[in-house]
């Protein structure tokens, strides 16, 4: 399931006095089975970019190919793309509208024509996967806490068994345990089913730990597209665009500046602990 974006340009309010260019000449290849992190300052174009990937926004110029097919061809089935490329929106709780949690999660699968039993199995499975217990299945989504709503929204997309799963800041507003739980869940879905995951995040720590490839977007342009370990060496440039490096990476960098022989490229707490112990002999 590959997705290729070729020189995508997009303007909001094109042709009006408010015209603003949100994406500038974006070219990207998303092959099968990667876990990709997408970071950038607020307003850099992350949400605009991912909405191109499932056809919700149409580029002003450039092409997108899904498995080699041009998605802007007249006979391309856009509904198919929407199903295969599942998108969990930035404020997914705004999409919850059914009277109960289970009805909300059932909406997607039912809408795409799954029979009742299959849809229910998919919905229950998805709710279980995101950690929503049976006690909440018949609750109204509006009475859930912020974090509970988020999980329900993710379950709604998971229930459609997408091949590419794109999540726009899915862990914003989750408690630390919930964040880890969702990230591990994404990793598991990615590893077990080979699903491509694209994770938009403002947490440098999270993308450092989970992403295999990190795309940095700045004012509508791709600034870096590389392994996280390489991207996070560009400390000054990242800060200039409103980003950071993970706290543990900053710590080992400061220790290395002091002359300690620690590995500056540590991306996780585990790596930092191991490297500090090794360099100091404790």
């Amino acid at each position: 399931m590959s997705l290729i974006l070729d020189k995508i340009n997009y303007y909001y309010s094109k042709g009006t006095a408010f015209e603003s260019k949100a994406l500038k000449n974006i070219s990207l290849t998303i092959p099968d089975g990667e876990f990709i992190g997408l970071i950038g300052h607020t307003g850099s174009g992350k949400s605009t970019l991912i909405q191109h990937m499932n056809g919700l926004i149409r580029a002003d110029s450039g092409s997108i190919y899904y498995n080699g097919q041009d998605i802007y061809d007249k006979d391309f089935k856009m509904t198919e793309l929407r199903r295969k490329v599942g998108l969990v929106f930035q404020y997914p709780e705004h999409q919850l509208f059914e009277a109960t949690v289970i009805k909300d999660v059932l909406f997607g699968p039912t809408n795409m024509g799954m029979d009742k039993l299959k849809a229910e199995l998919a919905a229950y499975g998805a709710l279980k996967a995101v950690g929503i217990g049976e006690d909440l299945i018949d609750a109204s989504p509006f009475e859930l806490s912020g974090g509970q709503k988020r999980r329900v929204a993710i379950a709604g997309v998971l229930a459609m068994s997408p091949e590419i799963l794109i999540l726009d800041e899915p862990t914003a507003g989750l408690d630390p345990a919930g964040r880890t739980e969702i990230l591990r869940l994404l990793k598991k879905i990615h590893e077990d089913n080979g699903i491509t995951v694209i994770l938009v995040s403002h947490s440098m720590e999270d993308v450092a730990e989970y992403a295999e490839r990190l795309i940095v977007i700045d004012d509508g342009e791709i600034k870096y597209d590389d392994e996280p370990r390489k991207v996070f060496t560009h400390i000054d440039e990242l800060r200039k665009t409103g980003l950071e490096i993970p706290e543990c990476t900053e710590l080992v960098g400061r220790l290395a500046d002091l002359g300690l022989k620690v590995d500056r490229s540590c991306l996780t707490v585990d790596e930092a602990v191991a490297s500090i112990l090794q360099s100091t002999g404790y």
């Binding site: 950038g40 300052h41 607020t42 307003g43 930035q90 404020y91 609750a139 109204s140 009475e143 859930l144 806490s145 912020g146 974090g147 509970q148 800041e169 914003a172 507003g173 989750l174 408690d175 630390p176 345990a177 919930g178 964040r179 403002h202 440098m204 720590e205 800060r239 409103g242 980003l243 950071e244 993970p246 706290e247 543990c248 900053e250 710590l251 400061r254 220790l255 002091l258 300690l260 707490v269 930092a272 602990v273 500090i276 112990l277 100091t280 404790y282």
Partner: protein
């Protein structure tokens, strides 16, 4: 200035006929006292009751049992409402939902105008508030073109213009990039230190809490732990039971210490860590 006396709050769900379908006890016997000028941080799992507690501070909700006093004013008495809401402003998570007007200065002046402040004073308040959040240069710009962090600072300015004594921020940084997060935390820290404004900060980012005077840890509708950040974050294992965490550097120091690495207990920041290592 904020006093919760054995406060319980229940969300009650009713069916179409008005019969009670379910009762959800979101606060369960909370007592706490916040002094004027304190910087309080509230941590807790999703659903632990943080937002419900926050909504009691400016009387958006009132207790099912028990009492909440804001400077001796009972939030249950209707004729206190206006005063309480003016004294305690709220900032929410989503920066886009809090902007109302077409220009930054109009947005900030909206609150004071609404309560009938004379025009001249409104403009003085707007100028003061924008200056305090470092957004004076954007005064005549459209809020829509600001970054998330800037929008939140405008939202904070809108509250400042009401001359509050307390600002309650319910996950104000959850939707922001790292720079926006830093801007917001620096802004509220400065308002607390320089203007003496009481701050109640709810967050899921552990690092944002290290500068607070006091941290409350909520679970199941109650406050389970309270203390200084250092007292709280030394409970590395206990916090995990409450679905929380510690800053990465605190975790690293904790694990190194377990291996015999000579570090003082509970390091909260990178600077502290570096100091500890260089003074060794």
């Amino acid at each position: 200035m904020i006093n919760f006396d054995d406060v319980t709050f229940e969300y009650i769900r009713r069916d179409e006929e008005g019969n009670v379908e379910s009762i959800n006890k979101a606060l369960d016997g909370i007592s706490l006292d916040v002094k004027k000028g304190d910087f309080i941080a509230i941590l807790g799992a999703n659903g632990s009751g943080k937002s419900t507690l926050a909504r009691h501070i400016n009387a958006l909700l009132t207790p099912t049992e028990g009492t909440v006093f804001i400077e001796e004013m009972n939030t249950k008495e209707d004729n206190n409402l206006l005063k309480i809401r003016q004294k305690t402003g709220m900032v929410f998570q989503n920066p886009d939902n809090q902007i109302i007007a077409g220009l930054v200065e109009e947005d900030v002046g909206f609150g004071p105008e609404n309560i009938g402040i004379p025009t001249k004073e409104i403009w003085e308040r707007v100028a003061f508030a924008l200056e305090k959040v470092g957004m004076t240069a954007y005064r005549e710009k459209s809020p829509n073109n600001l970054s998330g962090g800037q929008k939140q600072r405008v939202a904070i300015a809108g509250i400042l213009a009401m001359k509050p004594e307390c600002i309650v921020l319910d996950e104000p940084t959850a939707m922001l990039d790292p720079k926006g997060r830093r801007e917001v935390i620096e802004t509220i820290t400065e308002l607390n230190k320089k203007e003496g404004i009481t701050i109640i900060l709810i967050t899921h980012y552990m690092t944002e809490v290290v500068g607070a005077d006091k941290v409350y840890v909520m679970s199941g509708g109650n406050v389970k732990l309270s203390g200084t950040p250092r007292e709280i974050f030394k409970e590395v294992e206990l916090l995990k039971e409450y679905k929380l965490d510690v800053p990465q550097v605190t975790e690293i120091a904790y694990r190194l210490r377990q291996k015999g690495f000579p570090l003082s207990e509970c390091i909260l920041t990178i600077d502290e860590f570096i100091d500890a290592v260089t003074n060794r």
